[in-house]
């Protein structure tokens, strides 16, 4: 049973500007509002996931990308409909921008039979070919070689479609990432890798994950561009990714973008993260990506309190609908477990 796709803001018919996004770097008023909508939607979605987790309604663990919303939303916003997305566990915003519905995401988190994975896996671990979303597996870095393969297929088929994927500051050290960049750079594949440096890998501070200054310093080791940006600055994330997307689409090869953010919550919902200095959190709180874009758009007089209320109404209504829909949806029948190891 397929459920309604893309969660659209009022009146906004389409986020992506056509098949192979040619949207200019400067954002229109409408686009600013779309971005704001998805930032709020992401934040509120993850808040409700946490609430559901505390109520014991989530199967397994629950991860959020609080602090990472601008990176997830801004990067996916630079993609066109035909582009491929391989999001990580902090990138719920990317799922949403690429058009995934709240219902489908709720069903995934609650392991329901009508979820996209049919309850075989949870959270963002699903594939939705209709939206060209291919979720991660738990093994950090393991999806990136697959993303390289999709970028290769795109090139061989002359699709002009690009592939956007992500890895964390910890996961960046996994060998899969290196082999992927080696292959993608030599083949000049349309791959964009965003390194989400959110200061921690579970309990491990980034200082124990790297000896160089920036993760983007690794790009030169593959002869590809690498930049480091403030991952809480939505416009900057979008524009940086847009440039990388156009470069990839033009056949000029991969780009590595280090997006510096902060993991504002624990590693997962069960983690109190006592190991994170309160002062550090306080510092970063000032750069809360959702508040930043809200303030910007209010200053620009783009976001009126009327629109804001409208969006909030819509978001909370949609969330309520999705939660209820998921709760009302049954788990898969037990015997389903035995079915589908092989494709026919």
């Amino acid at each position: 049973m397929k459920t309604t796709k893309r969660s659209n803001p009022v009146k906004l018919s389409k986020v992506n500007a056509g098949k192979n996004s040619q949207r200019p770097h400067s954002l229109t008023q409408k686009e600013y509002l779309q971005l704001y909508y998805f930032m709020r939607l992401t934040r509120e979605f993850e808040e409700s996931i946490l609430k559901l987790y505390r109520q014991g309604k989530i199967v397994g663990g629950a991860y959020t990308g609080n602090g990472n919303e601008a990176t997830a939303v801004g990067s996916a916003f630079a993609l066109g409909e035909n582009d491929y997305l391989f999001p990580m566990h902090r990138d719920m915003g990317a799922h949403l921008v690429k058009g995934q519905s709240l219902r489908n995401l709720m069903l995934q988190h609650m392991g329901r039979g009508n979820s996209l994975s049919k309850g075989r896996d949870g959270t963002g671990h699903y594939a939705d070919p209709s939206l060209k979303i291919y979720g991660n597996i738990s093994h950090l870095g393991a999806m990136i070689p697959m993303a390289v393969g999709v970028a290769l297929a795109s090139t061989l088929r002359k699709e002009k479609a690009v592939v956007l994927t992500y890895i964390g500051d910890g996961g960046s050290n996994v060998g899969d990432v290196h082999e992927s960049l080696a292959m993608a750079s030599v083949m000049k594949l349309p791959l964009i890798l965003i390194i989400e440096n959110n200061q921690f890998a579970y309990s491990t501070p980034v200082a124990k994950q790297k000896a160089m200054e920036k993760y983007s310093d690794r790009a030169a080791g593959y002869g590809i561009p690498g930049v480091t940006i403030d991952g809480t600055d939505l416009e900057l994330v979008y524009k940086t990714c847009k440039t990388a997307v156009e470069r990839a689409r033009a056949g000029e090869g991969p780009t590595v973008i280090e997006s510096v953010t902060m993991r504002m919550h624990g590693h997962s919902a069960h983690d109190g993260a006592e190991y994170v200095p309160k002062t550090l959190l306080a510092e970063w709180k000032k750069k809360d990506p959702v508040q930043r874009i809200e303030k910007l758009l209010q200053d620009k007089k783009i976001l009126t309190s009327k629109i804001k209320e409208e969006y909030e109404k819509k978001i909370f209504a949609e969330l309520e609908d999705a939660v209820q829909f998921a709760i009302d949806s049954p788990y898969p029948p037990a015997e389903d477990a035995a079915v589908g190891v092989y494709a026919v």
């Binding site: 309850g119 075989r120 896996d121 093994h139 190891v341």
Partner: protein
């Protein structure tokens, strides 16, 4: 004697061996200040210091390879995989380097890899792995899988003292659900020796790890409901196997159920069944039966995982079928 949990027993065993032998050290992800994802090494850093409790980069190939290298030059590293599933990320180091060091180089490789294993915690396909069969097939490893706090402590200590790469399977679901008596005094459980966890005369259940408890529950039920006397053999060591103990039990009962949580096909139950069918041919009164997870990845939904995993009800049914044979 202390009455402690399975996970406390592992911690105590590690602690005592680190006190005893300064060449023993720990390396892994988040094991230092944080004490590990499951808190097995909580407090170790404070007591043993940064040179004995080493937080590494997130890179299993580096962790397992570094442990192998350090072992070859005389240290006794204990590598923690945060979940057993992630050993696949460093698979090549173990099967190509660690396992064959002694055969090729004639040098000991005294290392332990701790593998928080098993399903039943809604971990889904990638946090539920029972990794034993892959390594069981690679000559050079020892593999242990304790089911009780006593065995958990005795086997981690034996593993650390062993001069070979030892894979230590600790079942996540047992961590805090199983308590038992554990001596404060120094002892080990010899690698390669199984244990009769319940003696009986009609049917032998050969099992290990979490399934030992499932088997014991089932044994009580069939005893009471069907008057069937079940012997439960806890292998404890998967490599080497205690074939003596297995065959002795089979010769006594003539009927065998092999039970493991891992997928059936290609699981070590097949090897055990083959050995029994070969070595105890004349003693078998019924075909050797096996029970385990169905042959799929570990599904995430509770209903699916329930169907996927072996459980007491399924073991009871299998035992009753055997009894009726």
């Amino acid at each position: 004697m202390a009455h402690i949990t399975y996970i406390e027993a592992i911690s105590k065993g590690l602690w005592e061996e680190m006190e005893r032998d300064s060449s023993v050290f720990l390396l892994g992800e988040d094991i230092g200040p944080f004490g590990g994802a499951f808190k097995v090494t909580k407090g170790f850093l404070q007591h043993f210091g940064v040179n004995r409790v080493i937080d590494t980069v997130l890179a299993e190939t580096a962790i397992l390879g570094a442990a192998t290298g350090a072992a070859v030059v005389g240290m006794r590293p204990i590598a923690e995989m945060q979940f057993a599933d992630f050993v696949t990320t460093g698979f090549s180091q173990l099967v190509n380097n660690s396992a064959s060091i002694h055969y090729r180089w004639h040098l000991p490789c005294p290392m332990v890899v701790r593998l928080p294993s098993g399903a039943g915690i809604h971990g889904g396909p990638f946090h539920s792995r029972n990794p034993e069969a892959w390594f069981f097939h690679q000559p050079g490893f020892k593999i242990v899988a304790p089911s009780t706090p006593y065995d958990a402590k005795g086997l981690i200590k034996a593993a650390i003292r062993d001069n070979n790469p030892v894979l230590y399977l600790e079942h996540k679901r047992l961590y805090r659900h199983i308590k038992g008596e554990v001596p404060e005094t120094d002892y080990i459980v010899e690698i390669g020796k199984g244990d009769v966890k319940r003696s009986g005369n009609d049917i032998s259940i050969i099992t290990y790890g979490s399934m030992v408890h499932t088997a014991l529950e089932a044994a009580d039920v069939v005893q009471n409901e069907n008057g069937v006397s079940v012997e439960v053999i806890d292998l404890r060591s998967l490599m080497p196997l205690d074939t003596e103990l297995i065959f002795a039990s089979v010769r006594k009962t003539g009927k065998v159920l092999i039970a493991h949580e891992d997928n059936i096909t290609g699981g070590i139950g097949g090897e055990i069944a083959a050995l029994i069918s070969d070595q105890c041919f004349q003693y078998l009164d019924a075909p050797v039966k096996r029970i385990g997870a169905i042959d799929t990845p570990t599904p995430y939904s509770p209903t699916l995982e329930e169907f996927f995993l072996p459980n007491t009800k399924k073991v009871i049914a299998a035992v009753q079928e055997l009894a009726a044979f």
